[in-house]
Symmetry: C2
Subunit: 204 residues, 2 copies
């Protein structure tokens, strides 16, 4: 059929490839993933994967897409979780976002790195998934603005863009190995929260 591959020769190569690729990337990064090695780990010949993914790029897009879906779900969960003040929820999100990004460095890099967005061509469905994730973020930003957590001197889009850019930048510095001191991270996260929130400098 179309969607569900039955036991042809391998079983379910599509899924096996995605799983193996995901693991290799988590361990060695995108640079460590080669189609040939991947095929070898799964136990098929070099070109077998090309019957399931047009390209190496297509495989990576599919992988990244899964990451975006997970992140979108996490964002939605946060919005519904109404217990606790918004400020603390936001602070918790910042911590979570960065911890998560750093714990899964390589996946984060796959999702937001130039391998997919610049060098390769992002898939149509990958674009959709990432835009949806971003929309979830913007929606939450709007709420945070109403709760006076984030500044209201601009549209939710702009505030969402710049605040996210800040988080992204911090994440990248650690992920790319420019900053390495994990001990700095905690303090930087807290400073970043102060920088982003309205309550940054309490007016009297």
């Amino acid at each position: 059929m179309n969607t569900s591959k039955k036991n042809y020769h391998h079983g379910d190569l599509t899924a096996s490839l995605l799983n193996a690729a995901s693991q290799i990337i988590e361990e060695q990064g995108v640079e460590g993933l080669s189609m040939r090695k991947l095929a070898d780990t799964v136990g098929v010949s070099r070109t077998a994967p090309y019957h399931h993914f047009k390209d190496k790029n297509a495989l990576l897009c599919a992988l990244a897409e899964k990451g975006f879906q997970q992140q979108a779900q996490r964002l939605l969960a946060l919005r519904t979780q109404k217990e606790g003040a918004s400020v603390q929820l936001f602070a918790a999100y910042v911590h979570q976002y960065l911890d998560d990004a750093i714990q899964h460095k390589e996946t984060y890099d796959l999702m937001y790195g130039r391998t997919l967005w610049k060098t390769g061509k992002p898939n149509a469905s990958l674009k959709v998934a990432s835009k949806h994730t971003f929309k979830c973020w913007i929606d939450w930003v709007e709420v945070l603005q109403k709760d006076s957590v984030l500044p209201s001197d601009n549209t939710p889009l702009r505030i969402g863009q710049t605040t996210w850019a800040s988080l992204h930048g911090l994440a990248r510095l650690f992920i790319d190995g420019i900053y390495l001191d994990q001990s700095d991270l905690t303090q930087m996260k807290e400073q970043m929260i102060r920088q982003l929130c309205v309550s940054h400098l309490p007016c009297t």
Copy 2:
């Protein structure tokens, strides 16, 4: 001699390689640079460059180092330039930093990308150069704190780290092709400045 290569066979291969490589990278990015093509453009055989650079990595490090030196000089120039209020100077720097990063995307990526810092091993002298550039930044941050442009609720190091991370994040989003709308950039830069500066919310 040691430093100045005279007219041996080629003339000055070291410099020629750096120039050609720099140009290729500006045009096609790091991914578009291959040692073989580079040697070909310069007009030598494939392995000739290896007598001037131990590695492809070493060549890239040398290239990035030049970038850091330029940036450090620009930072120093800003600090001595005392005309105009500090706030406006800082705003101008933010604009310049991002415009420059985006205009020379590929060089920026070389300097701060994972190609050098994560995948490859950054040179000893590259580390020195980048640290020096960063120190220039921190020194200026200290001044900006005293001028009440940047917040003083933390050390110059921390403030410097987080503010720079924000700029870096914004730069990366455009460089990596995640954001493409140049028209958004102007507004995002201005919002970012507001986010970073103390005057963000004027206290009455």
